[in-house]
């Protein structure tokens, strides 16, 4: 099943390769002019255009791009001066760590809230949940991010400075997974683990709040639907304990749509993390891609979109597999 799912994802990735290549070229902006500097003469710009290979025809550029891609070469970023593959390898774990933490925070809050709201519709809990979900939905992350920095760091001094993944005098742990939390544990350095966890607090809260809304809503709606279903009524009528009915019968069945939302939410989080990464000086791929777009630096933008497409494909695969775990019928049908 895994192999077949992967095979169906391939055309999508190929499409992404073609479309990003074309879109990038269709964008206005002249990278040669950008990199030649403000005082460049026309021949300096032509020289750079040649060096970047931009004087070749579009099909030629595309073939060269494909050839490099098969070698795992995503080109060179002119904004950081590094190979794009190396940049992404260094930065993707930072983004994934942050997005995962944000998602976990959202989940631990949203699932109980959603269940509570569904079991007591119209109650105080339900209203609080609705308020939280509305806030998470309507407050843009750049706003919540800045407010959190202002209140928790600037005014109260509770949170550590928004200086990225580690404070200035800490050395990053030896890279194994790229996640500082996991790597510091592997290095048996609890001090470093705490330091990395502290830096994660504010950005995680910002992302968590943004992710809260869709998960709470979906949990509440799914639970309401399930609780009104025949089999729950039957279970209740048969005198099963309310707890068993709620957790074994209702929640398990309500999880399917929630898991579907999770996939969407995680990719949404990777998207909004662009802003969050900027605010907290987080060295992730979102901020990287944004800087590259501004500099009309093609290679990193293409590399970013491609990486995101692959991450998205893998994420969907994971969710499909999760379906099978939650509801074995899915496996049989496919």
């Amino acid at each position: 099943m895994v192999a077949r799912r992967l095979a169906t994802a391939l055309p999508g990735v190929v499409g992404v390769i073609v479309v990003t290549f074309l879109l990038n070229r269709a964008l206005p902006g002249d990278p040669a002019a950008y990199f030649a500097g403000p005082a460049a003469t026309p021949q300096a710009i032509e020289e750079i255009r040649g060096r970047l290979g931009l004087d070749r025809s579009l099909p030629e550029q595309f073939v060269l791009y494909l050839r490099d891609l098969t070698r795992g070469d995503l080109g060179h970023s002119l904004t950081t001066g590094q190979p794009v593959a190396a940049d992404l390898r260094a930065r993707l774990p930072a983004s994934l760590e942050l997005a995962t933490c944000g998602l976990l925070l959202a989940l631990t809050l949203a699932l109980p809230l959603g269940v509570l709201a569904a079991t007591r519709p119209g109650s105080g809990v339900d209203h609080v949940t609705r308020l939280l979900a509305t806030m998470g939905n309507s407050l843009p992350v750049f706003f919540t991010g800045l407010v959190l920095v202002y209140v928790l760091y600037y005014l109260l001094g509770w949170a550590p400075p928004p200086l990225g993944r580690l404070e200035v005098f800490r050395q990053a742990p030896a890279a194994v997974t790229g996640s500082f939390l996991i790597d510091s544990l592997l290095a048996r350095d609890p001090g470093l683990f705490l330091a990395a966890a502290k830096q994660l607090i504010l950005p995680t809260m910002t992302l968590g709040l943004a992710a809260l809304a869709p998960i709470t809503r979906m949990t509440r709606a799914a639970m309401l639907g399930v609780l009104a279903s025949d089999y729950v009524r039957t279970a209740r009528a048969n005198g099963l304990a309310p707890r068993t009915v709620l957790y074994v019968y209702a929640l398990r069945n309500a999880m399917l749509p929630v898991v579907t939302t999770l996939g969407l939410v995680l990719s949404f989080l990777l998207g909004v993390s662009v802003v969050v990464e900027k605010i907290y000086a987080w060295p992730g791929i979102g901020a990287y891609a944004l800087d590259s777009v501004i500099a009309s630096d093609y290679a990193p933008v293409q590399g970013f979109v491609l990486t995101m497409a692959v991450v998205y494909v893998l994420l969907n695969l994971l969710i499909d597999l999760l379906y099978g775990v939650i509801d074995p019928r899915v496996q049989i049908e496919s």
């Binding site: 002249d30 460049a40 907290y280």
Partner: protein, 536 residues
């Protein structure tokens, strides 16, 4: 048994926590001779000769490499210490002299100077570095040419520690141009070890590594995140710096940068909006230093090649209609030096009395519009780089408002940063707001870039005037001070008559630092020189 195992685990966890908190004091001790500088962006290369090296690379080069010469220092009227471009001082070269015919200069290098890896610095390294600068093309080559250094044959090794530059022509910028960030001295033996037949100048390796002998070594560089410098204790080209370690962290959000300096977590912060500097200066618990950038100008440019701004009377009308004071106030909140002449206030030749456009004069502007054949005005656009919208947008709006008073109906055209340079290159924008600054503080150097008919990308107004070109070229190589002064006055007069660019103000290079930091020096390259800083 089980409970004892748990006890041991808890105890060891407490011990570990304690040991990490015990380790804290050593971190805070580190802070007294470590500097945390927070900036918006960082270097994209370690090599100033590389393609696309951004202006933060100037700072890397400045601190990690030596040049033959450097500039002296002076104190500005506001108390800021600034470099002094009129005084050349030794850095790697101990002494130097011009030949009798004035057609070459000989340098004697320090004998005790060593690169970071311990290799002694020789004249061969100097030659290799200069050959590289004039050969690789692009920005370093153009910068060397500005001082009439054009071919490797000009650079001669006279002995292990003696080096000569043969002049192609007498150019007063040759010597000053040796003290800018481009002609840095590379460790040629180290660089050559990383050169390949297709990359003889080790461009690939030096992009990610330094091979210098400057006051600081780059200890680590993570592009887009931070650059860490550590002092080179064997530095001989100047007094040993006080700061042992410098961490430059990139924090893209201006709000976060401001919070960091106010909370005392950062020592120095650069790149804040003008309004933040004004507010921080008012609070008084931090040191805010603003220095008008030398030889720099924010201006309104008018396209001298395309109608209707090709008519000089239209350009003059705009100049008379400009509400100068309000524009400067709205854009910079007073943190700038207003300019009425197309010469910066601390540049030779500055004379505000020369300008007829000091005050808004609408009747004169309207009369000129009528004369030019546009009594009812016309439609046009005002373009600016949206990347600097905080400064540019209020200026554009006020300009738009004042143009309406003389019948010109302008729409505002925000151009994203990446597209801006390309748009300027096409040279078809009628009216723009732009800024330019030249490293070397000579008026003719600025004019060469911005108003010379050789039409470089920075001549954004497509201004072509043989009379102007002759004056600029003459001033570049003039040795007679009196005649030079006349030529400068003359080309300023032409620029005021033809107004292809309308000066607005000289931007300010602002930094904010903790009160415990002293020794800040303003440099033309607008990067922090760590060597002079002191932290108490």
């Amino acid at each position: 048994m089980k409970s004892q195992w748990w006890k041991a685990a808890i105890l060891s966890a407490i011990a570990l926590l304690l040991s990490t908190t015990m380790a804290m004091p050593s971190f805070s001790q580190d802070r007294s001779d470590t500097l945390l500088v927070v900036t918006e962006g960082g270097p994209n290369s370690m090599d100033i000769h590389g393609v696309g090296a951004n202006f933060q690379v100037y700072g890397v080069t400045w601190n990690a490499y030596d040049r033959l010469l450097t500039y002296g220092k002076k104190t500005l009227p506001n108390g800021t210490v600034s470099y002094d471009f009129t005084k050349l001082e030794p850095e790697l070269a101990q002494r130097w002299w011009l030949s009798a015919d004035g057609m070459s200069v000989t340098f004697v290098l320090r004998k005790d100077a060593k690169f970071h890896d311990g290799t002694p610095v020789t004249a061969h390294d100097v030659k290799w570095s200069f050959d590289r600068a004039v050969t690789v093309g692009g920005f370093p080559t153009f910068q060397m040419n500005a001082g009439s250094m054009e071919k490797p044959e000009q650079f001669v090794v006279m002995g292990e520690h003696t080096f000569r530059i043969n002049f192609l022509r007498r150019d007063k910028l040759t010597l000053p141009n040796l003290a800018v960030p481009v002609p840095v001295i590379f460790n040629s033996a180290l660089a050559k070890r990383h050169a390949t037949p297709t990359d003889p100048w080790a461009m690939a390796w030096l992009r990610n590594n330094t091979a210098g002998g400057g006051a600081y070594k780059v200890e680590s560089w993570r592009p887009g995140q931070e650059t860490v410098y550590v002092r080179n204790d064997n530095w001989k080209s100047g007094p040993l710096p006080k700061i042992r370690r410098v961490v430059v962290r990139e924090v893209p959000s201006a709000g976060s940068r401001r919070a960091l300096i106010e909370r005392g977590d950062a020592d120095i912060v650069m790149d804040l909006p003008a309004r933040d500097f004004v507010e921080l200066a008012k609070q008084g618990n931090l040191t805010v230093i603003g220095t008008p950038v030398e030889n720099a100008m924010m201006y309104v440019g008018m396209n001298a090649k395309h109608a209707p701004f090709s008519d000089v009377r239209v350009r003059q009308a705009v100049a008379y209609a400009l509400p100068r004071k309000r524009i400067v106030e709205a854009a910079t909140f007073g943190r700038s030096a207003p300019l009425v002449t197309p010469v910066a206030s601390n540049t030779f030749g500055y004379d505000p009395k020369m300008s007829p456009y000091t005050m808004q004069n609408l009747s004169k502007a309207k009369a000129l519009m009528a004369e030019s054949g546009f009594p009812n005005g016309f439609d046009t656009t005002i373009s600016f780089n949206a990347g600097f919208a905080a400064t540019n947008e209020p200026m554009a709006i006020l300009l738009q408002e004042s143009l309406r008073l003389i019948g010109i109906n302008a729409t505002i055209n925000k151009i994203p940063g990446a597209v801006w340079r390309g748009a300027l290159l096409r040279k078809d924008l009628p009216l723009i707001i732009n800024v330019f600054s030249g490293w070397l503080n000579y008026p003719e150097y600025f004019y060469l870039w911005v108003l010379h008919g050789d039409n470089s990308a920075s001549n954004t107004s497509s201004y072509q005037n043989p009379e102007m070109d002759k004056l600029i070229d003459a001033a570049r190589f003039e040795t007679d001070q009196k005649r030079y002064a006349e030529q400068v006055r003359e080309f300023i007069k032409v620029a005021l008559r033809d107004v292809p660019i309308l000066p607005l103000f000289q931007p300010s290079m602002d930094v904010v630092m903790q009160k415990s930091i002293s020794g800040y020096t303003y440099w033309f390259h607008r990067q922090i020189d760590f060597r002079s800083l002191v932290k108490n």
